[in-house]
Symmetry: C2
């Protein structure tokens, strides 16, 4: 058996490690390199926001792993678990319901972090993350749909206001780049929608501390803030997002911003797989990793990128950036080869070359080798440097072509409408909101997970309360059975979490699970006999 | 109120009708034009197969409706129903659970046909249609995933054979173009997959009659068949597809072709909305439509394209092609304007200019104004004519650029992995197949809709039968409760239809619907007490 090096993660850390290993292990017959990634492509993160406007072809911001890594065996799978004792990685099943085991001699952990909205009520259900290509495509689809709907929902000003308000939480590089691109996109395409008055569009950046872009010097952050403000973004500093519902962003001050689009770039947590490993952890659950990039206390487990806490020679910690991850990759590859073949090991040290952030429309900020640059020159540097860093000449050519065509073509408006999940979903509501109103179409059944609701109906003598329901109870089942309109309004009395079943899904289950059907028939019967009960 | 013309359908018929109306009704203040389409783009069908290989940018084969139709109000919605008495169209809800009504003065029906696999067991569950952009993207994703999995599933030759066999049913233009593009794509990218021997790849075209391309002269059909065969496609004539399962294409002869990829371009049915209208129908449920393009017996309901049966002056019927639909569009627009403003009406007559079909890799067949052309010249004509017919200069430029880059760049391998539906699905099996086997991961619960299964377990004395189950019964629940491996094999005794619930979905429901949980606990308890019963 040839020694096998298994790399987990398809981001900068993992892909550049595999690349460096391919170079170092010239002949592929001696060693096997395996990379496990849940997507079959590498996302070039710096250009991800350009997917929002479609400036670059939707697939050009990513590179197929198989084109980058010619001598690595690529497994497009989820990692289910890591067994350090037996030295195997277990991946999710493919077409066949069997777990797949990959034994390793050396293991490189480059799993990064995950978006984690836990602890912020409603964010897991209603906020959109912005981390991978799927997130970017989903945001783009959502924006186009929101504009199209705002253009035709002319009889409901409340809904229109929600649809035309776009909020981004988090004023770091990622949030600033997203809000700049989002703002440019919706404002440039809005004139194509006759029913929309461009003055009704609001784009808001929410940031918790007193200045955006904490990564760069204050003067650059102020420059960025000015540019955003001039282009119509409301920059709200010292404003913390606390919760979200399907129709509102709820701030710590209690203020509620009506919106159907809330992007949050803020929270990230350790990857659950890293969390589950019995290995020493540092801050934020990151793996304690030596300058050699071996995880403390191990001989053949290595870590690079955002999932590792790596002490630099000066005692500071390596920041979670792509330029650090790619340089860690070459060190870890060198040290693994040294472990396999003998030789001296290297220690990771790198000071960073600088930071750049795009602000849309021919503007950016950059700190390069200590110099501060802003405006058009920074934007030109941003494009040039990242274009050269994009792996693969084919991709570079395609991107350069797209950028050229973009100079004289309007932004693309195609909505790929990626099938949104139609199954059982969760929804969050805040006190005072209506889950549904009398007269709405009955398209879902709800089960209360936590919180209370009040069911009311309009009558000759005004609104009367029919019932109050709490955790574990259902409502909305009448409309499902009768395929009709809601005959009551359900209002939320407390912070409320619901499980929501679409009519179609429920109908299939009820038709084939007699126990389920009977229990809902019983419930409907009971409520029908109590005129004051919860018919909803 | 201004007179309103409502056009239903975003294909060639509908879009070109709206375009012709915009031209004819010079001032938009006099009339309102509304187009209802379920996507926000117009699909240029002739180029759809190019999405498979990604030669053209994934969104360039479609045109955003809002860029084409500057003076039309566009509703990106599903049509729920048409009320001819009240003269309103009811569309599906958008962000708000309210049906939307659009009153009309004139109604143009351009809804086309729908793919309809009913009557062919297993095809609705397991065959892939190829009609719209979503279908093309899904097929592309599936092909890339099948190759990636075949490359790493090295211990299961049966699964590998299924993954590397690609079948297309239907040898008309659509099926031939799809099989040609699919064959070019999988064979050109296969060398990037180390684990795949290119000789193991099989691409099969199934066609029911004795020659493919019935639309063109026999000599061109033979030419196409030769080209396909030379490139490695197995063309199987007089071969009818009868059924499908998740792992096989079942032929009328009883032969079963093991495959995980079955594309069917064959059946199309009238659109359910047309079906539901109380209007006179002709062959295949199409609307009986006069040469003026008014539906028989109506004054303000018009029909164009594939949903209309239009008699030509010579007594024959207009064929369902794009060139006919676009010319019908200009006649119907003229006649609607005549009805609104007065003036003479026109009658539709058009003989067709010819037919073209691409065969991949610089080859095509064409019949243009009576001349037969094949090979490179036909391919050049195909590209030139369709590029010029593509609406919008921006799109043409992007496509011409992509075609140029494609000359020296390898095919793109990015798998956008559009979220496949994770909810309740249906599965079809044929006698003798295993639904699952002892030792498989228990990831789903099954409910039998029709058919019978036998549950067996291996023991010291060989395989013993534990139980037989039929319609309405469940199996697979033990694995769900215990999160373990299957402890029995379930074999299909007859043609079998199942409802399949993923573990995750079921767990959420069971946790929150006590009646459902109890009924499964009872079932599991009963089965545990009967050693010969169905523990699966």
């Amino acid at each position: 058996m040839k020694p096998r090096i298994v790399v987990l993660g398809g981001g900068f850390g993992g892909v550049y490690t595999a690349l460096a290993l391919e170079k170092a292990l010239a002949s592929r017959d001696d060693y096997e390199i395996v990379l496990v990634s849940k997507e079959n492509y590498f996302v070039f993160q710096p250009m991800l926001p350009e997917v929002i406007s479609g400036t670059i072809g939707l697939t050009d911001v990513v590179s197929p792993l198989r084109r980058l890594l010619r001598r690595t065996e690529i497994h497009v799978r989820e990692v289910e678990s890591i067994d350090l004792q037996r030295q195997v990685v277990i991946t999710s099943p493919g077409f066949k319901p069997h777990a797949h085991e990959i034994p390793y001699d050396h293991l490189v952990l480059a799993l990064g972090t995950v978006t984690d909205f836990r602890g912020l009520p409603g964010l897991p259900e209603h906020a959109m993350p912005f981390k991978n290509l799927g997130d970017a495509l989903a945001l783009r689809s959502h924006l186009i749909r929101a504009l199209a709907e705002a253009a035709i929902e002319d009889d409901d000003p409340e809904l229109r206001r929600q649809l035309l308000t776009f909020a981004v939480a988090g004023g770091g590089f990622s949030g600033v780049e997203v809000v700049a691109e989002l703002n440019d996109f919706v404002r440039s395409v809005a004139p194509s929608y006759h029913g929309i008055d461009p003055r009704d569009i609001r784009v808001i950046l929410l940031h918790a501390t007193e200045r955006i872009l904490p990564e760069v010097a204050p003067s650059l952050a102020l420059f960025a803030q000015d540019i955003l403000t001039k282009r119509g973004v409301e920059v709200r500093l010292q404003t913390r997002l606390q919760a979200a519902t399907g129709t509102e962003a709820v701030l710590a001050s209690g203020e509620r911003i009506p919106t159907r689009t809330l992007v949050s770039t803020v929270p990230s947590s350790p990857h659950p797989l890293i969390d589950a490993l019995a290995l020493p952890k540092g801050r934020n659950g990151r793996l304690l990793t030596s300058g050699r990039l071996a995880v403390d206390g191990t001989q053949n487990v290595w870590a690079v990128g955002d999932c590792a806490q790596i002490a630099l020679p000066d005692g500071s910690l390596a920041p979670p950036t792509a330029q650090h991850a790619t340089r860690q990759a070459s060190v870890v590859a060198h040290n693994i080869v040294a472990a396999l073949r003998g030789g001296t090991t290297r220690t990771f040290e790198f000071k960073g070359l600088g930071k750049m952030g795009a602000l849309g429309h021919h503007s950016a900020v950059a700190e390069i080798l200590g110099a501060k640059v802003s405006g058009f020159l920074a934007w030109w540097l941003w494009r040039t440097i990242y274009l050269m860093k994009m792996p693969g000449w084919g991709r570079r050519l395609k991107i350069a072509t797209s950028w050229t065509l973009d100079l004289f073509l309007p932004p693309d408006l195609v909505n790929l409408s990626l099938g949104s999940s139609q199954g059982v979903t969760r929804e969050h509501f805040e006190p005072g909101q209506d889950v549904f109103r009398e007269g709405d179409l009955g398209d879902r059944l709800y089960i209360i997970l936590s919180g209370d609701v009040q069911i009311t109906r309009r009558g000759a003598e005004g609104e009367s309360t029919l019932a109050r329901l709490g955790a574990g109870q259902c409502f909305g089942e009448m409309a499902l059975v009768n395929m009709t309109r809601r005959n009551a309004t359900v209002r939320c009395l407390s912070s409320l979490d619901l499980l929501s079943l679409p009519k179609k899904e429920f109908a299939v289950l009820a038709a084939n699970l007699p126990d389920l059907r009977r229990s809902f028939e019983r419930l409907a019967g009971e409520r029908a006999q109590q005129p004051t009960a919860s018919r909803a």
